[in-house]
Symmetry: D2
Subunit: 375 residues, 4 copies
């Protein structure tokens, strides 16, 4: 139908004419695309009613073959194949986006960060500090740490009872005894406790003793464990795997929320890169990105990110400045004697100095990155 | 206009009906998309005739705004924006693809690998071995290496005269004197010579002495140097930067070919990853991928990939098995005394053993990966 | 005691004199170091007899302080601290090396690769091919794959029944029903079966149905799962985590062997890097390095390394050329219809072509890298 | 000589006895090591007087062979070899450390950060903001940016005239015309100008027009270019290569300082990792580490690190909180129309908002990381 117009204008056409014609085609395309979307929607409903598999790849192939056969050009057959794949994918993407926006952990535009209650603390509303030794070693150690933390106004005490260790011959934690020491120290000093869980079979045991369960970096992609901790209802501290994308982290959180447990806190802890000067590379961009994509609070484990003591004050400041909802840091009464991660744990005085560097401006919790963003 | 049909079919429609309707819409879309492409083509020609900038982003924005305003649904405004961006991008991609397929270094479907002549050697037709010390150090060293290489049937002699070194205080090569020693050793034993060029100002000097110019890993993205070596007409050995994507490598080759020099050989040499056991991680997949994407021969510098001696025989075999057109390896008469890269250079006997592991099957040059691929 | 000599020689000394004196000091140092080692050994025995913690960091600090205080120079205090830390570390390293060499999975110099028997197949003696679909989907699919594999002389059938998936809403495998379909298909065609285990609680179930248990990439560092599979006695296929160092992989194998199960096969499957063209980057150097460090057979999962079909033949050839004891590859009767990993599975004809590219030279299993190495 | 004592104590020895004996041996070792260092020093002086190559690897090999032959145990021959290599290396390391501490760019303990004067601005004393478009495009663009920057109190204007581009067919910058537009805009508004130099042959041209010369990420390892900019005496902004270690960056700075130009500012700008959500991964730890290792100011190019606009405010805050001496950010009057890097440039209002998020605490320049560190 456009042929006659084409003939007429070819010689004397102006840019304005051409643009008008593109606009007209655009609006015809708009109508057709929506019409197509309506029919696809009908197909979907039909299939759902009749319990038929929604996506059938061969069907798509048949459509493409028919279109290419009928293609008059100037688009090449390849380009037509490409464009219709885009249109098909757009439809799928549309459904996917529906699903993704309906990821239960996704942040709805303008929505605030979730507030996770742990005892009387509200994670997500005010920045938190989680501190304590890498591993629970004995009562004296825990008493010295917990006492000082309480004096300094810190309210979360960490300490590993089940330690995943690279070598089967390394100290693997005190197990249940460690859980008891941690719980007792927390109770004596009014601190909420956090400890790692490493096996579906001991989830209930850990949940009995601790206020918050930690999924370690090595287990972020251990989906059976994620499903198991979901059933406890306890707040979960989900650490990012050292090579996971943000999307993988968010979907791991979704496993827990889909399992019925909304109390999830994300934790960036450094990623593996070519860099040699630190144990991992702290991915500072993960903080604003996660806060934008996800409604859950985000904290930073600066100790594992750095793997060394000297730069921890700078990383604590940077994390909060980037919008983190808190930090986790390893503190030991005598790091030189620690049974694991000796080189990255702060002693109690060093920890106090670190706290001193967290100026009020940094502790005044930033609004979500999305809101302070430039776009 | 589709409303009436919709009404009618909603109740008793079958899947077959719905599919027929999708097919009809598909073919209407096909016609409109091609019609749009024709008008876009006219716009482009008009602009070229009138020297107007082709891509005007504000124009795209205006179109999108108009379409969203007119959008009746069910696609959301965001989805319409997305779909039309896809259509606009498809047009741009079409032009881009035109350009990319017309990247002069791209392999046309079914086309053979270029054969680069260096003297009487045909790189790309038969696998080549390039061997020699990291740096040219003195006449005796070069004589011992060149003599043995010639005996072993190797025909390419390498040796650095200008050495890029991390520290300003390290040995930086013998410079012009090194070029002369390399050239003389090559001439005495009938070997073709390869050496690195590091500065636009010394390109002509190096070209005067060497049969092939090497662009080192640090300079793959030094576009001014690429333009400069293009003008020499000499065969260029272009090493991949240790963190470059394959696309970046191919486009660096395009700089040389666009500069009028078709004689380019690509060289994979390992990339930086978290792995610690080797100096770099040999990206073996780069071999079939580069051979598929690009018409130029591809060789592998196994010495820099590994940074250690013991695994070189395995890497030499793997590289050829993956379809490489040759390998480069550092050989020194006395590696323990080498002034650079001592730990990765083979001595002459070790090199002979490595050659012994290259069974005839591996030296029978594979067809391009594209042809032996499973698709 | 050396003072007088010093005085005398200062003027007229020759290089030979100086070297003689260094030699003398060297031999005095040799005696003292061994003497020190003997006493350290005594301390260790004493502590073991008396159940005292062996390593006391404060003790080391005291010794260093004392030595620095007594240091006459010319070595700076820092250098003395450094040198003695080296000597202390050498002692510790000595004990560590003892432990490491006594890692049960370490390859003793000159020792052959372990042969793992799976039915009548001897993994480690002859190269193996493991093939089959990503996920077990239904009986027809398994029948078509298993039948063709048997015809082609392949003897290992893979297929996932428990699938770890990034999204909680993706197809998670058929579970126990999948195990039964896999087992039945294997039995009908005389194939040994391999399938993944993902939870300590289902280890026994999987072990009941499959001939070999696979630890997937996400679970390589899930030490509780490693301990659990050790107890089954079944051959274990241990896949490398996508960001694990080789040392971490070897120590994960040690968990299984320390748990009483010697039948472990390592599997390289690609690592995460900046590269975008493939799903992962196949770390080809892992093959000779693992074979050198460890006595266990090493195979390569080329499908997950590549994430795309077209380069699989090149990767299969390269893996065997580098010394791999076998390859694993995903094969599906109709990849376009696969419920997971559609883009990387070969169809049955493509798989047959891939096998055709494995020339006899490549299937003639290489001796361990260590033996063919250049050193 | 120690034998008799050994005999006597073996039975009734106490831990205290054993420790006394270790202490005695330690002090004998101390004396011998220093004695050895003195002789090595003499050898060095002798060789320097007589112009003999200092390090002769075969000599080391001979000594090791002799020591192993004489080794009575209990240390294994391997351990003796290892220990003496450590001692030899300690000597070399000693010389190296001498050299490294005498790296002219190293920070001496307690020393302040260098202050680099650019006009009346003192980089290193107060945090700086460098802003402006990716590329200089035309006079109107530069006028709009420069005018607004001046209003906002920013004093450094950036803009590329020579643009290194991945494709030879992309816009490569306006060249000399771009230099003139940049210079003029700077002069009109009292801003200091920064622009990139890409070729040794155009260094003088760029130096004639700009107040500060930028070495881009692709050229950080282009040592000939580093030597060339050293000769200009101009302040140099040295950007880290996207895959360079911190040591490589520091040594690149050393090239410039060794070339006689002390005015160098380091710039972190993101590294290549597996992460996909951002163009690069901002290495926030580089800031405290570089400030600790090096006496030069350190700034952060947040735009290239992120490659997207929305997280720039968070990265600006984090960079300053971590101790950066300033930030660089791309600002364009109409980013949608930019000829390069459109997606990462801020418009003028977005930039003003970003500045608003830099609270006084963050602009109160932190002391060097070393001083605020916990150790």
């Amino acid at each position: 139908m456009a042929d006659k117009k084409d003939e007429k204008t070819k010689g004397s056409t102006t840019l304005e004419d051409l643009r008008r014609r593109i606009n007209a085609v655009n609006h015809d395309l708009l109508a057709l695309l929506n019409q197509r979307a309506e029919i696809v929607q009908e197909v979907r409903e039909y299939k759902e009613r009749n319990a038929i598999e929604i996506f059938i790849p061969t069907r798509e192939q048949e459509m493409l073959d028919g279109l290419v056969e009928a293609n008059p050009g100037p688009f090449s057959d390849d380009m037509i194949r490409h464009l219709f794949r885009e249109i098909f994918r757009a439809s799928l993407h549309h459904m996917e986006t529906d699903k993704k926006q309906s990821l239960r952990v996704a942040r709805k535009p303008g929505a605030p960060t979730d507030v996770i209650k742990v005892g009387n603390r509200e994670v997500g509303r005010e920045p938190i500090i989680i501190a304590g030794p890498c591993a629970v070693e004995d009562e004296d150690q825990m008493e010295r740490v917990a006492g000082r933390l309480a004096e300094l106004g810190v309210t979360f005490l960490r300490g590993g009872a089940f330690k995943p260790r690279t070598s089967p011959y390394s100290f693997q934690g005190l197990g249940e005894e460690g859980l008891r020491l941690l719980e007792a120290a927390g109770k004596r000093h009014g601190l909420k406790t956090v400890t790692e869980v490493v096996d579906t079979r001991t989830v209930d045991l850990v949940a009995k003793h601790a206020d918050m369960l930690q999924i370690g970096s090595r287990n972020q992609l251990n989906y059976e464990l994620l499903k198991a901790v979901a059933t406890t209802g306890k707040p979960i501290l989900l650490k990012r795997n050292f090579a996971a994308t943000l999307d993988e982290l968010i979907r791991s959180a979704e496993y827990i929320v889909a399992g019925g447990n909304e109390n999830v806190i994300l934790c960036e802890r450094g990623i593996r890169t070519f860099a040699r000067e630190t144990r991992n590379t702290l991915d500072i961009t993960a903080i604003p990105l996660l806060r934008d994509l996800c409604r859950l609070p985000v904290i930073v484990d600066i100790s594992h990110a750095a793997g060394r003591r000297d730069i921890l004050p700078a990383l604590a400041r940077a994390s909060l400045a980037a919008g983190a909802n808190g930090i986790m840091v390893e503190v030991h009464p005598n790091p030189g004697l620690a049974r694991s991660d000796a080189q990255q744990q702060l002693d109690l005085n060093q920890f106090e100095q670190l706290l001193g560097g967290l100026t009020p401006d940094l502790l005044d919790l930033r609004p979500p990155a999305a809101q302070q963003s430039a776009e």
